[in-house]
Symmetry: C2
Subunit: 342 residues, 2 copies
DNA sequence: CTGAAAGCGCTTACAG
DNA sequence: CTGAAAGCGCTTACAG
């Protein structure tokens, strides 16, 4: 390993000077800088971030916390990671995915370790024990998502109210009235996004005076399938479903099809918060509302780094709506035909 | 932040002694140890890994390298990460996912940084520039997968030959003869697993004197769909497909169905190297051969840590086969019916 | 503009 | 069994 000492010796300067040119922290004459840069090049120097971290008290490592040990990582979720990490590199940080449970204690360990300068929190819950732990341990963070009361916290999130409204409006326009809402339900997780979506759904059904039909579904294709297979019996009057559970959406289509229902003639579907990847799996292709994952990943990273670098700045709080992408699963409401088999 | 100095002061010992009890590196009298442990508890001490890393020259951080910036992260892939990181914690390391391209230069940067002690490499290619870079920069690593000649390298991998043979045998037993092989094809990536699978496929078809039909497909559902829709025209005599592209498998079923072909009556399918998650998305459910992701993640992590801790030990080299999970996409070969629509 | 020196929090021969 | 001290590679007031 070649150190600053080696570079300093070769360039015949002090290691302080080397540090100044490496970091650009102080003015250095053109001549010396060139000498130092030549030495670095010749020796193949790369600053040891461990030494720098110890001296500075900052590592320039950021962690994305996704409870990957407890639930599947969707392609949509990995889009957040991809775009956020690219953005991180752009701003001089490394963003890594830190596998951690939905667990305050593990946060405490991470915080005390001092290994990361900040945290990007995903899959935020209404009352998130991780948020409490991060605040308690004074770890800088930003959320992709938001808690029940996020007014004092930095976040970027999906504007779920408007997205639900848009999905509902789309179905209303096709003459649907009994429009169900299928949400992901995990007992251990009180996902804030789902809660807000359900609230928006209730509001919009009440405003229209239409029935409110909530369906809970695990975040696995198999549970969507199960619901689809029993759909005709369990929801005889429902002609459309808004889905907020991208893992279950293809399974739901499979289950409906298996039970002899036709999508969209018998049941129209809109998948909320998904991506082309999931939409293309089904026949017909899902009509969906795209999660702005790339945008939110970038904005979330910026929110975090802004906090890190300027604690006085305005609190970053951003909401982005999902955007409708037409597919083949929405049709005009009509009388439910008798299932062909089942 | 509470440091060893603080603990030492309170316990009235030297920081060396604190270090010895924290690490268990040297014998310490019961009495002193208890004093030190009490002090640690009272102060809420946690060893600063940055300081330790600088002193030791090791960080105890391991990186899983997945070219997540370039391709989707499947659920199967995330199972590797999940199980490997759990195992890492068990062995006293932190495994994080380091987003990095398929790029030797980025490996060099990571290596020179000294931030990680070792690397777990995924999505290994036949001639992998990352392997060359890791060797050149003397970074300890283990592969999940293997290069063209891995004889001198530590790895764990799927036993593709036997898995392909098993899938083929399954279809032969149902009377199929023209069995195609659909593999993921990405121009930038010469995925070793795919190459080995295709070689095994060629061998087995030749041995049986059956046709060899190779189909290339992008790792996206949409491309599977495209192939499915044109399947009747492009492969009129093919009655079964072995799929090695879990991203495309549901799309293929969707495309076949869309074109009026019945799965499995017209076309039988076996998805190689997949999981229940993907299998449950389609109607009927996919017959698949399960990737032993959990097992390979653990074994891969062990391989890496074994190298790290005992460079003299035997080179870890493990192959695990995929295991058949019956579904609804395999049926006896019969004459292709005329597509109902298309 | 440049350098000598202290310090970041730990580990580890070396003495005793 | 325990401690004083050097050292890991860097940053950053403080002098000059």
């Amino acid at each position: 390993m070649v150190t600053m000492k080696d570079v300093a010796d070769r360039a015949e300067v002090s290691i302080a000077t080397v540090s100044f040119v490496v970091n650009g922290t102080k003015r250095v004459t053109e001549a010396t800088r060139e000498r130092v840069e030549a030495a670095m090049r010749e020796l193949g120097f790369a600053r040891n971030p461990i030494g720098a971290a110890l001296a500075r008290g900052r590592t320039r490592i950021l962690a994305m916390l996704f409870p990957a040990l407890e639930r599947p990582l969707s392609l949509t979720a990995s889009a957040f990671f991809t775009s956020a990490s690219r953005r991180a590199r752009h701003r001089g940080y490394d963003l890594v995915m830190w596998p951690i449970g939905n667990d305050a204690e593990q946060i405490a360990v991470l915080a005390r370790s001092g290994l990361v300068d900040g945290v990007l929190l995903m899959e935020v819950q209404l009352e998130d024990p991780r948020v409490a732990a991060l605040v308690e341990h004074k770890v800088e963070f930003a959320m992709i998502g938001r808690t029940a009361d996020p007014s004092a916290l930095p976040y970027v999130d999906i504007d779920m109210s408007s997205s639900v409204e848009a999905a509902y409006a789309q179905l209303i326009a096709e003459g649907h009235e009994d429009i169900a809402f299928l949400a992901s339900a995990s007992p251990a997780y009180d996902h804030a996004l789902v809660w807000r979506a359900m609230r928006a759904y209730r509001e919009v059904t009440e405003r229209h005076g239409h029935p409110t039909t909530l369906i809970a579904c695990d975040e696995m294709p198999g549970d969507g399938r199960r619901i689809g297979e029993r759909f005709a019996a369990d929801y005889p009057d429902t002609t459309a479903v808004i889905i907020l559970n991208e893992h279950a959406a293809p399974g739901l289509v499979a289950g409906l099809t298996h039970a002899g229902l036709d999508v969209p003639a018998d049941v129209s579907l809109v998948s909320l918060g998904s991506s082309a990847y999931m939409a293309e799996m089904t026949e017909p292709q899902l009509t969906y509302m795209r999660t702005p994952g790339t945008e939110l990943g970038e904005l979330g990273l910026d929110a975090l780094v802004d906090r890190l670098e300027d604690t006085q700045g305005p609190l970053p709080q951003v909401l982005l709506p999902c955007e409708l992408v037409p597919g083949g699963t929405v049709a005009a409401a009509g009388p439910r035909r008798t299932p062909r088999r089942a």
